[in-house]
């Protein structure tokens, strides 16, 4: 399967080409070049998936394919390799990434048309695609970290694409620093893990239940085994990228970037990197520290709930979608955390990956749809929209499909994946299952609130008549909508499972029915409140103003961070340190110089140039010497 190398190298090549030539290239040429290379690698990925999944299973498991070369050597056992690891989840991710990326490339040809820096935009998109592909096919955890950082930077560059806009610059900075902060823990986790196992390789680490610790396994720190620490720290890294509470603050702000970028990076691919990381290391988590796995479930559930509540009151449509993304990633995390390893126990793992797949499609669709809407009305605010269904029929239809999918209505893809997740969570802990079902209902509610506010409700007066987006933009919408409709029927358990064995999905009717009912209630409520302009939302908001305001302000998490960074780090650490440096340490050095100078001035006073004083001193000296001589002589 040597051709898979091309999947990795082609976007890099396209990045270098477009990036180096930049403005010397005609915009349309740059766009077409990027899109073409993406089309090629998408085709290759499909072929690769076909190739891989039609190959024979050995002992019931698809055999991983590894190609790698040494890149950097630390010691005899620790070295970073760069290469490709093809196994069910990485192949699945290849398909997801190239599909969404290709759609975004095509879409952007229309959406970004005429923007300054069009070439730069495509260069960055290629860079991102390269990094993300490198991340998912990583053969070892350090390669993953390398590409992890690279996706972070591409995300930074793309969020800050409109670099003259202060909000975009601030958002890009925030995104980078928050994820970087999480990466710090990731790195320390890697360091601990690699020290005790003496390997970076996923293949060795996830080899199953064999003992991977080369050092004494009993090594503990503060009551927990070192491996638990390492895995918890690694999860923090994943939580940063996947916007888990409380490291989620960067994601809503990241919406300052161009909308197709939000669709690609901040909905479909990069933000699920954390989920992918946990899935990649799943056997290690499962066998060595189930307590961390339980922690992941709790964090995921809380994040999911938090984000869903906040999403209910946001007015910027991209922010709503951003919080919805956070909430859905929470679902995936919960599912992973609730998963076992073998057979039916491993349902959560499979469901999580399935949801990752379906969510990538319909969330990208939602974002691209939102992009088309923003393109038409030139605003992100819900209040500037309303009644758009008449003007934008295709966008309306596809958006509706996506909303139904995320709400979990049969037979769209979201129904299947969410159902599996709920089934797994109910199996793990019924209380958690109830909570997740409630969040599913909330999801249905806020998505339809969004839907009605955009396409129904009171029509806003527009300066220009809104119109349907050009073909280049509607094609991806239609394509993704089609995928959303059919993806649910993919027998996902035949491809991706925790233990690699074949698993047949069967729908748990009680869970399916109850979740559908909950979703329908959510939709009904939203219909009641938002389909026609009513007073209900306003009265509700008034009835509990504190809660409403807090949710609107995202429960003041951002303010807290601002306080920590601005007040604590800036004013309480850095400023005093800088002052200390100038006025204490430097002053000490200067002081030494001043003392020397002063001393020399004083000593110079002795050399008065007055002959008579010299003689006096001389005389005294002679007399003293004589006196000493006499005393010594007499003694």
């Amino acid at each position: 399967m040597q051709y898979t190398l091309v999947i990795l190298l082609l976007p890099l090549l396209s990045f270098l080409l477009i990036g180096l030539l930049d403005s010397k290239l005609k915009p349309s040429l740059a766009g077409n070049l990027g899109t073409l290379s993406l089309a090629i690698i998408a085709a290759l990925s499909y072929y690769c998936a076909f190739d891989y999944f039609t190959a024979d299973r050995v002992n019931g498991v698809f055999q991983p394919v590894i190609m790698q070369m040494e890149w950097l050597r630390f010691s005899d056992s620790l070295h970073i390799d760069l290469g490709l690891l093809l196994d069910p989840i990485s192949v699945m991710m290849l398909v997801v990434i190239t599909t969404v990326s290709l759609m975004v490339h095509i879409y952007s040809l229309g959406y970004m048309k005429g923007e300054t820096g069009f070439q730069r935009y495509y260069a960055f998109l290629s860079l991102f695609t390269f990094s993300m592909l490198g991340l998912v096919v990583a053969t070892n955890i350090f390669q993953m970290y390398i590409f992890w950082e690279l996706v972070g930077v591409s995300s930074y560059l793309l969020i800050g694409f409109y670099y003259t806009k202060p909000e975009a610059v601030a958002a890009s900075k925030k995104a980078f620093i928050v994820t970087r902060f999480a990466d710090l823990f990731f790195l320390i986790g890697i360091l601990i893990l690699s020290f005790y196992t003496q390997t970076f390789d996923f293949a060795t680490l996830t080899a199953g239940n064999s003992n991977i610790l080369s050092e004494t396994a009993g090594a503990t720190f503060l009551g927990a085994s070192v491996l638990t620490w390492a895995l918890a720290l690694i999860f923090i890294g994943g939580a940063g990228k996947s916007a888990m509470f409380p490291l989620h603050v960067w994601l809503p702000d990241a919406m300052e970037g161009p909308t197709p970028v939000s669709a690609l990076i901040h909905a479909a691919t990069m933000v699920v990197a954390g989920v992918y990381l946990v899935a990649r290391l799943f056997p290690v988590y499962f066998f060595y520290s189930p307590e961390v796995l339980a922690g992941i479930a709790v964090v995921g559930a809380f994040t999911s709930l938090y984000a869903a509540v906040v999403a209910c009151v946001q007015t910027d449509i991209k922010r709503v979608l951003a919080f919805s993304t956070i909430s859905q990633i929470g679902f995936m995390m919960v599912s992973l955390g609730a998963s076992g390893f073998e057979g039916h126990e491993g349902l959560g793992y499979m469901a999580s990956m399935f949801h990752l797949f379906t969510h990538a499609m319909f969330k990208a669709l939602l974002f691209l749809g939102a992009g088309a809407i923003i393109h038409a009305v030139h605003s992100n605010e819900m209040s500037h929209m309303g009644g758009l269904r008449k003007y934008m029929p295709i966008t309306h239809a596809t958006f509706l499909i996506a909303c139904l999918a995320i709400a979990g209505i049969f037979p769209l893809s979201g129904f299947f994946s969410k159902d599996e997740i709920l089934a797994a969570v109910f199996h793990f802990c019924p209380i958690l299952g109830v909570v997740m079902s409630f969040i599913a209902g909330l999801t249905a509610f806020y998505m339809f609130r969004l839907y009605y506010n955009i396409f129904w409700g009171e029509e806003h007066k527009h300066e220009h008549q809104p119109h349907e987006a050009p073909k280049l933009m509607t094609f991806p919408l239609i394509f993704l909508a089609a995928v959303t409709v059919v993806a649910g029927f993919i027998p996902f358990g035949h491809f991706v499972t925790a233990d690699g064995m074949l698993y047949d999905i069967h729908i748990d009717m009680t869970v399916a029915l109850s979740s559908t009912v909950v979703a329908l209630i959510g939709i009904a409520l939203a219909t009641l409140m938002y389909r026609k302009p009513t007073q209900i939302p306003a009265t509700l908001a008034k009835s509990s103003p504190g809660l409403y305001k807090a949710a609107m302000k995202r429960f003041y998490i951002d303010e807290f961070y601002l306080f920590v960074t601005k007040r604590v780090i800036f004013n309480c650490i850095s400023r005093p340190l800088a002052w200390f440096d100038r006025h204490v340490i430097d002053a000490t050095m200067d002081g030494l110089a001043t003392i020397t100078q002063q001393a020399s001035v004083k000593i110079r006073g002795l050399q008065s140039g007055q002959l008579q004083r010299y003689v006096l001193v001389f005389l005294i000296g002679v007399l003293l010497a004589a006196a000493i001589a006499i005393i010594v002589y007499l003694a």
Binding site: E149, V169, K173, L191, S574, I585, D586, M589
Partner: protein
């Protein structure tokens, strides 16, 4: 005289040529020719060195030569290189070359400037090729003295003060070094000052205990060791562009190189015993420099504090006393040398156009000088350790190496050092966001032009080096790592 001496000879000939040249054109021609020759020779040396190693030559130093210089005190002119010095020579050659280009239009007194600049190069190159303690010290002094004049005459701001401060503090350091060298010489009872010979002798541990801190501190001053780093912000801020580049890029590396070559190599037992003192200091350096950089407003101060942080990491890694971390230390020297030179070059170019280095006054430069701005972003990304650029490779090697020490003390300080990667990101992005992005506020900036050919060339050379080191690090890393075996052998003795 042997092949290596050509690195000292070329700058000497440059000085002669400069002395004879009359017009600015001639001066530029001489300087550029010399610098290019140096770079070519560094390339050739690297090739020859690797070829020798591949051919199976496993001597500790290659291309050794020895000439008696002053017999009564056993001072020899002896030279030789291992992987570490080859790497350093390569770095120096690149920085000197780009430094010449960066000071292409230096004014006033171009002739004198390049004369001193060449003298400085003699010191730097000589330091890296010599294996004799005293000769090494002499070259160290040669590299130090021109700095005073270069900053005092061609600098900006409080240049006399800064030049005096820098020179005095570094001279203080060199007094320690001399003391240490004499201590090693007499303590070992040797009849030679050759490092290779000295390493075979055993210095009593009681003496090592005295001289290790002395030598380490002496070189540490040049390596911006907390709390002896304060010359760095003032000195760099006042120095002209090329001098900042050479100073931060190469001269600060003399400190790390000296610590490694003399303090650790010749005094291994004391190094193991007393390393904790300096681990504390360097650990502080790393975070302290980074935190201080966050609130600075002068571009050069930011970079100077960032250098304190990064060079702290170099010394920190050396003190971890294992092969991986020391490899990382040398890689970090290379990486920091390249990117800090790039930073200073870019800051100089921006300053040359806008006449201010205050980040509060600059904004939206991306619009007016896209080339320089993109390069600045690349430098920033290298500094915050983006994979594919040099900083990442060096830092990761250091961290993995540092983690090989399993006790709590090392772990705690390693964790502190690792946390600097976040703080670095904060100050780098702060600067990039403030000066490059946003809208152009000062109307007069709209008329500014982007880089001209020699600036572009100089910056491009540095970026290519950074990318090359960052994306294909294996050969450099192996070259360095193989040369560390003798040092590790010393430590294990």
């Amino acid at each position: 005289m042997n092949f290596l001496s050509i690195f000292v000879l070329i700058p000497t000939l440059m000085m002669l040529g400069l002395f004879l040249s009359k017009s600015r054109k001639q001066i530029q021609a001489v300087a550029l020719t010399g610098a290019s020759l140096l770079m070519i020779m560094a390339g050739v040396l690297t090739y020859l060195y690797l070829a020798e190693r591949v051919a199976g030559n496993s001597a500790e130093m290659l291309f050794t030569a020895d000439t008696v210089w002053y017999a009564p005190l056993n001072i020899h002119y002896s030279s030789g290189v291992d992987g570490v010095s080859v790497a350093m020579l390569l770095l120096s050659a690149i920085i000197v070359f780009t430094g010449v280009l960066a000071s292409w239009k230096i004014d006033p007194l171009p002739k004198e400037f390049f004369l001193w600049f060449s003298l400085l190069s003699i010191g730097v190159f000589g330091f890296f090729i010599t294996t004799d303690l005293f000769t090494m010290f002499m070259y160290y002094e040669i590299a130090l003295i021109p700095m005073y004049l270069l900053i005092g005459l061609w600098g900006s701001g409080r240049k006399e003060y800064s030049a005096m401060k820098l020179t005095l503090m570094l001279m203080g350091g060199s007094a320690f070094i001399l003391l240490g060298i004499l201590g090693i010489y007499y303590g070992s009872g040797a009849t030679t000052m050759n490092i290779l010979e000295l390493s075979k002798l055993h210095i009593p541990i009681e003496l090592q205990r005295y001289f290790f801190p002395v030598v380490f501190l002496g070189f540490g001053v040049l390596g911006a060791l907390f709390p002896f780093h304060t010359w760095s912000p003032d000195g760099h801020a006042s120095a002209p562009t090329a001098v900042s580049m050479l100073h931060a890029g190469v001269l600060m590396k003399l400190g790390g190189y000296g610590c490694f070559r003399i303090a650790i190599y010749l005094l291994p037992e004391a190094a193991q015993e007393l390393s904790w003192i300096f681990i504390v200091l360097t650990g502080i350096s790393v975070v302290y420099g980074a935190f201080s950089a966050i609130v600075q407003t002068d571009l050069k101060y930011i970079n100077a504090y960032s250098s304190v942080s990064h060079c702290g990491l170099v010394l920190f890694a050396i003190l971890m006393l294992n092969r991986t971390a020391m490899t990382g230390a040398v890689m970090q020297m290379l990486s920091h040398g390249l990117m800090t030179a790039l930073f200073f070059a870019l800051i100089g170019m921006i300053y040359g156009r806008t006449h201010t280095r205050d980040i509060r006054e600059l904004a939206g430069l991306m619009k007016v000088m896209p080339f320089l701005s993109v390069c600045y972003v690349i430098a920033g990304l290298a500094s915050l350790g983006l994979p594919g650029l040099s900083g990442f490779v060096a830092e990761m090697t250091i961290f993995v190496g540092a983690f090989e020490n399993p006790d709590i003390f090392h772990r705690v300080f390693t964790t502190i050092a690792v946390s600097s990667i976040v703080i670095t990101a904060v100050y780098i992005l702060r600067v990039v966001g403030k000066i490059l992005y946003g809208k152009v506020e000062n109307k007069h900036y709209l008329e500014l032009t982007d880089a001209v050919w020699y600036e572009k060339f100089s910056v491009t050379v540095l970026i290519v080096a950074i990318v090359a080191l960052g994306s294909a690090p294996l050969w450099v890393s192996n070259m360095i790592s193989d040369s560390l075996i003798p040092v590790i052998g010393q430590l294990a003795r």
